[in-house]
Symmetry: C2
């Protein structure tokens, strides 16, 4: 099952009354479960309750929103996942926050993030199994939506920090095209890789705030059946656990039964760059930002990782930039006549709590600036979700959301067995 409709499905809540009821249920769920999930580093339930008690104008009126704690707000401190003694960010609203407020949203609080995407987990647990990570670095944002605490959460993605945790938490995660959402007020890691990301129950719900932020109005997308998808067959060097490979093969078969042309393709990029190009760009850029003195107190491991990149020559970086340009065009030619490329959103289910998982399925697409979205693919017998990742052409964000909504509606997936999470006791998606 996905997140219970009782505490999600914002687009279905058409009236102010329905939205207020939804928010009240979310706050009740928060009070019951936050001690276990630990999604938030700072929140103000009373302020949120006061705000939603008054009808809020705007497309996001009545929506409860969680914000990854690298996104600056006027009303909460911003600690970048660092310790409480570390310097805090500006006390002004980031662009996305000011815009969401203008659109009527109620900011419930700031969600846990792991420091600068370094895979050491924060306190947040996976709502479906408290012994597992929700993924990172947008850990709390993904968990808050999956636990039914908020309708929307904002995170970021520099490698795989939106798509991967969404997959681990069985929800929808969306990384728009690079540049679509302005990053002002969001702590930076990498000049050409940082993206805002969004979490919600469904592609329809995730596209609604994304479109409200960028287009003349918030759009409630209808599902649109893809005519042709590219099913990426990954080389054996890339780990695919927990039945990912088999479930994707089944999906391809099912697609053909639905009349969709599902063309299986082998990875059309060098494996080394699929795995490593984003890191090469990111570490070079991040070293110059994060190692600047008087900035954040980094975990020592991250400092150690980045320091050698300060010494790397610009010629190496330039070569990586040129390869990126080439791959961007090659990918565009590849998906030009398809509605999406589909592949795993992660390497398996959410791992146990020692780390936040592997972003290898996401990094390359982040480097290419193309939009990506994840929807639940299936639930394993252990009661954990696997996510399907759809990747689209640059700027084709709406079309990707429409295709993803079709998957979401046409092939609903249900949790098969009991699990540690509360949601096991909830009704399946209706």
């Amino acid at each position: 099952m996905q997140v219970d409709a009782e505490v999600s499905d914002f687009c279905a809540a058409a009236t102010p009354q329905a939205r207020a009821l939804l928010a009240e249920r979310q706050l009740a769920r928060l009070e019951a479960d936050e001690a276990r999930v630990r999604a938030f580093v700072a929140l103000d339930v009373d302020a949120a309750r006061r705000q939603i008690a008054l009808p809020q104008a705007g497309p996001l009126g009545g929506a409860l929103v969680g914000l990854k704690d690298i996104i600056a707000t006027a009303d909460f401190p911003t600690r970048y996942g660092a310790s409480e003694t570390a310097p805090v960010g500006p006390r002004t609203d980031a662009w996305c926050v000011g815009e969401m407020r203008r659109l009527g949203a109620t900011i419930l609080g700031k969600t846990v993030c792991t420091q600068f995407a370094y895979p050491v987990p924060g306190p947040t647990t996976n709502p479906h199994d408290a012994t597992r990570t929700p993924g990172g670095s947008s850990s709390g944002s993904a968990a808050a939506v999956a636990a039914g605490f908020v309708s929307f959460a904002l995170g970021t993605q520099t490698a795989g920090s939106t798509i991967r945790p969404a997959a681990y938490c069985g929800i929808t995660g969306f990384k728009p095209s690079f540049g679509l959402l302005h990053m002002e007020g969001v702590e930076a890691i990498s000049t050409t890789l940082d993206h805002l990301g969004l979490f919600a129950r469904s592609p329809r719900d995730v596209w609604y705030p994304a479109s409200a932020l960028t287009l003349p109005q918030g759009e409630v997308v209808a599902p649109l059946a893809p005519r042709r998808v590219l099913v990426l067959r990954l080389p054996p060097e890339l780990p695919q656990r927990d039945g990912y490979r088999e479930r994707l093969q089944e999906l391809a078969g099912w697609l053909r039964g639905e009349g969709v042309v599902a063309e299986t393709i082998d990875l059309p990029f060098p494996l080394g760059d699929f795995r490593g190009l984003q890191q090469e760009l990111c570490y070079w850029e991040a070293a110059r930002i994060l190692l600047a003195p008087d900035r954040m107190q980094l975990v020592p491991e991250l400092r150690q990782l980045l320091r050698p990149y300060l010494e790397k020559d610009i010629a190496e970086y330039a070569e990586a930039r040129r390869r990126r340009q080439r791959y961007q065009l090659e990918f565009d030619a590849l998906v030009r006549h398809a509605d999406a490329l589909i592949m795993p959103a992660a390497t398996g289910v959410a791992p146990a709590f020692a780390n936040t998982g592997d972003a290898v399925m996401n990094r390359f697409w982040t480097a290419l600036h193309v939009p990506a979205i994840t929807v639940p693919l299936c639930w394993t017998s252990a009661g954990l979700p696997l996510g399907l990742q759809l990747v689209g052409r640059i700027g084709a964000d709406r079309a990707l959301a429409q295709s993803a909504q079709w998957f979401y509606e046409r092939r609903p997936v249900r949790k098969a067995s009991a699990s540690a999470g509360r949601s096991a006791a909830s009704p399946a998606r209706v």
Copy 2:
């Protein structure tokens, strides 16, 4: 002539004493000429004098720097070229400012900019002719370097706001590859077009702070003769006034005499996109940033220009993004075996004061994210400079600076006649 060596040539000032002397001369020049040039909106000469009186460690120790007034600093207000009653930016150092201070630089003050690159001039005059614009929107930064007030100035370029004013002022302007210099703390216009830009006397001087900001150390580049350059022959639809075409033809002939392969090529991109692609991207992106409520009070003309772009569909924007990707690769293939593409940096000399000039020679390269640099090409009989623009491969920023330094040293240009500017009375470049 370029800026007098007496008040510039930071790289030649090798000792702390020489740098202190240089700064003292610059402050004396400022006191004499700022009332005419009006480069600064805010400055603190006493604080600067106190700081340079103490030897500053670091590669930029002793350097006086001017900052375009859209770059946030802890010690000066930031007004984005807006009126004094408008909201001001954050009172914290932008990334580039914190880094320049760490490297030893002394921030003299904030320089005039025209509001959000809109071509209505500010009060700054062209140091070579007070009836003319210094260009925009980085007006004061270009003028401050040209007038010999500072060794370095930071500006930005979203269309042509660094390369064009540098050309109008007879100095070196450098727009690095997109993403090379982190934009945190710099007021944004456009998510995929905003660049930091630098102004200095020479390519050697401009690369020095740029490399100190991004590489293990500040590099004093040696001139490097290009083996092959592409000389862009522009179609007649693109205005080239004040002898630009003839001077470039002479330059091509001179290059061949120097043993450089100077291959003339016609514009290999559709004229419509060469002129308009950057604007299409910029206005779509800027509308979403600049029209957000509670942000800057825009001039009404700019608001009017941007508003229709809020209504434009994402599909149009996506198509522009895809064309950009294609041109990026085509340009890379074109300059792969050349050291640079050369062309006019502007459409002619600095126009009279009614507007800040035309960025049509710069916009396309900004959209392509490639590095560009301008050096003086010649001085007209009216005593005004024309600038030569060199455009390079993505990431090949150092190589471009080396080629530009070769032009600068090998083909020095001198002001032929008296002009309104004080510099007419100064000795020619030595």
